[in-house]
């Protein structure tokens, strides 16, 4: 039996809609399930107490602090390098051999699995540089990991700035540096922030690379040289070793809420960026 074009059109359309709804359904299923199970666990006491007896009791305060410190450090380190590279690629070069190598490196870094970043961070920061399992080792490792994302999103934001802006600036006899710092950068800022926020999300969600570099001790960190356990690592240990399902759900729910928040804010930024470009 051969299908008429109209029939195959209907079948294809049905399947495509089905695939899209399936994906949305899966996303809702995963998120709603974790939130329903975990949100009731999130009391003020859970958020402000440190974990006790391996995480069976107490809260997750120290893991929240650890996550925040590792992420903040990674972002602070990556910003000059990531955004600087993006400006170089977008504004200063027309594509020579060095540029090609830079692009190849950035794209390769983007594909390297997080566990390999973990191995590297462990041998380089923890052992070779003698930083030990610490917030600083974790932050540096994550900075390496998110570098390609920050480069790519910032470059896209810079390239989205209409060319006419630059031409007007040059025609007013502004120099290249003045044009970039006073015209292009402010116009691209919202898009750049969007990319940085998405990288914050990746840092918060990361487990493999942090567990090997920041460690898994759950005491309250006292400095950037303290070892720490991030929320994602805490959740993994609670869930995989069956220590406390209830606290695992609570931690996961907070992770999901954070990721959701970061995405909503990032989208708000990018929507304003697009609106401004019009």
């Amino acid at each position: 039996m051969k299908l008429t074009p109209a029939q195959s059109e209907r079948i294809a359309k049905t399947m495509i809609w089905a695939a899209a709804l399936l994906v949305i359904g899966l996303l809702l299923f995963i998120m709603v399930y974790i939130l329903v199970k975990g949100l009731p666990v999130l009391s003020l006491q859970f958020l402000t107490d440190i974990p006790r007896s391996m995480g069976r009791a107490g809260g997750i305060a120290s893991t929240i602090v650890g996550t925040f410190m590792v992420t903040a450090l990674a972002i602070a380190i990556v910003i000059p390098f990531g955004i600087g590279t993006a400006f170089y690629l977008a504004e200063y070069t027309k594509g020579n051999i060095v540029t090609r190598i830079i692009r190849f490196s950035a794209e390769s870094l983007a594909g390297i699995p997080s566990i390999v970043y973990g191995l590297f961070g462990f041998i380089f920061f923890v052992i070779y540089l003698g930083l030990g399992w610490s917030i600083i080792s974790g932050g540096l490792t994550l900075a390496f990991m998110i570098l390609p994302t920050v480069i790519r999103t910032s470059e896209e934001a810079i390239l989205a700035v209409p060319h006419i802006y630059r031409e007007v600036s040059f025609s007013l006899s502004a120099t290249k540096w003045q044009t970039i710092s006073k015209v292009v950068f402010p116009s691209a800022l919202l898009g750049i922030v969007n990319g940085v926020l998405l990288s914050v999300g990746r840092c918060v969600a990361e487990t493999a690379a942090v567990i090997l570099t920041a460690g898994s001790s759950y005491g309250m960190p006292t400095s950037v040289f303290s070892p720490t356990r991030t929320m994602a690592v805490h959740f993994y240990l609670l869930a995989s070793e069956g220590i406390s399902m209830e606290n695992a759900y609570g931690t996961a729910a907070l992770l999901i809420v954070l990721i959701l928040l970061i995405n909503v804010v990032a989208n708000a930024f990018v929507n304003r960026f697009i609106a401004k470009g019009r």
């Binding site: 899209a20 949305i24 200063y92 490196s105 594909g111 699995p113 191995l119 590297f120 570098l147 995405n263």
Partner: protein, 281 residues
């Protein structure tokens, strides 16, 4: 002064731009210098094709893990690629604007969910489902493939969508003007024209599946054995590192770095291939 600032800013941007090259070089050097001695000692053939992994007895063969990675990744591609391409066609061609404004952030969110959460969800729902429907322990290649199939969707969808949207309007208009239906236009004109982007999307998705650790560590069962069916547990290259790195030392630790080298090389080959496919146009 102005000129000095000009030259200085150019120099600074260039120096900052060298960071990605240095990062890649550092990673390559340190992973290789840590793992290569063990590969040299065991012999590369015996390391890659060795069937026995028993660090306490000095046996370091990772062939079962390579099989594990390959099977789980292929499974993920079989599950994730068709759904992903359908979704990208949906976004580019069928979704009403309100729907696509909802769908795009949703895909971004799917990419943002921590991989441990996927693993946990898989452990709670997919493992029992596979056990009840197909038998076996539930911790299996099939389970891992389903989880990874979902996890590669954002990569496959976003890159395919971009390549479909980048097609010249005339392709679609020409085909429609010849009396083709919408689906015939997509199937016979647009998808073939967007092929290189879609292939790159699939390769990058596969790269993600090969490299994923925390999601599969919870659902694969992690047995070091060559599987006989897709319902058997396996261990992948990534989970081998993830499980044992916590307590390994000495030669054992070197062997895990050597596992990392194999993973690293595989990913670099996939990446270069994806870059080659996208640039060829």
């Amino acid at each position: 002064m102005k000129k000095f600032k000009e030259r200085l800013s150019g120099r600074i941007f260039f120096t900052l731009a060298l960071s990605s090259i240095s990062a890649l070089a550092l990673i390559t050097v340190f992973i290789i210098s840590q793992g290569a001695p063990l590969i040299a000692e065991v012999g590369i053939i015996k390391f890659i094709f060795g069937m026995e992994w028993a660090p306490s007895r000095g046996e370091f063969g990772i062939f079962p893990m390579i099989i594990g990675s390959v099977t789980v990744t292929l499974g993920a591609a079989v599950i994730g690629v068709p759904v992903g391409i359908c979704c990208s066609v949906f976004l580019a061609e069928f979704a009403p604007p309100a729907m696509s404004n909802l769908f795009r952030p949703a895909i971004q969110l799917l990419a943002g969910i921590p991989s441990v959460v996927y693993g946990f969800w898989g452990l709670l729902f997919v493992v029992p489902a596979v056990r009840n429907l197909f038998g076996g322990p539930g911790l299996s290649i099939l389970t891992g493939s389903i989880i990874l199939g979902i996890m590669i969707l954002p990569t496959v969808i976003s890159i395919s969508e971009v390549s479909i949207l980048a097609l010249p309007r005339q392709y679609k208009e020409g085909a429609l003007a010849l009396g083709m239906t919408h689906w015939q236009t997509i199937y016979a004109v647009m998808l073939p024209a967007a092929k290189s982007g879609i292939v790159a999307a699939v390769i990058l998705g596969i790269g993600r599946a090969v490299g994923e650790t925390m999601a599969v560590i919870m659902v694969l069962g992690n047995a070091v054995a060559v599987p006989e069916s897709i319902l058997d547990p396996v261990r992948t290259l990534t989970t081998n590192i993830g499980i044992e790195m916590g307590y390994a030392s000495g030669e054992h630790q070197q062997a895990l770095f050597a596992t990392g080298i194999v993973l690293f090389v595989a990913i670099m080959i996939l990446n270069s291939f994806a870059q080659y496919v996208t640039r060829r146009k």
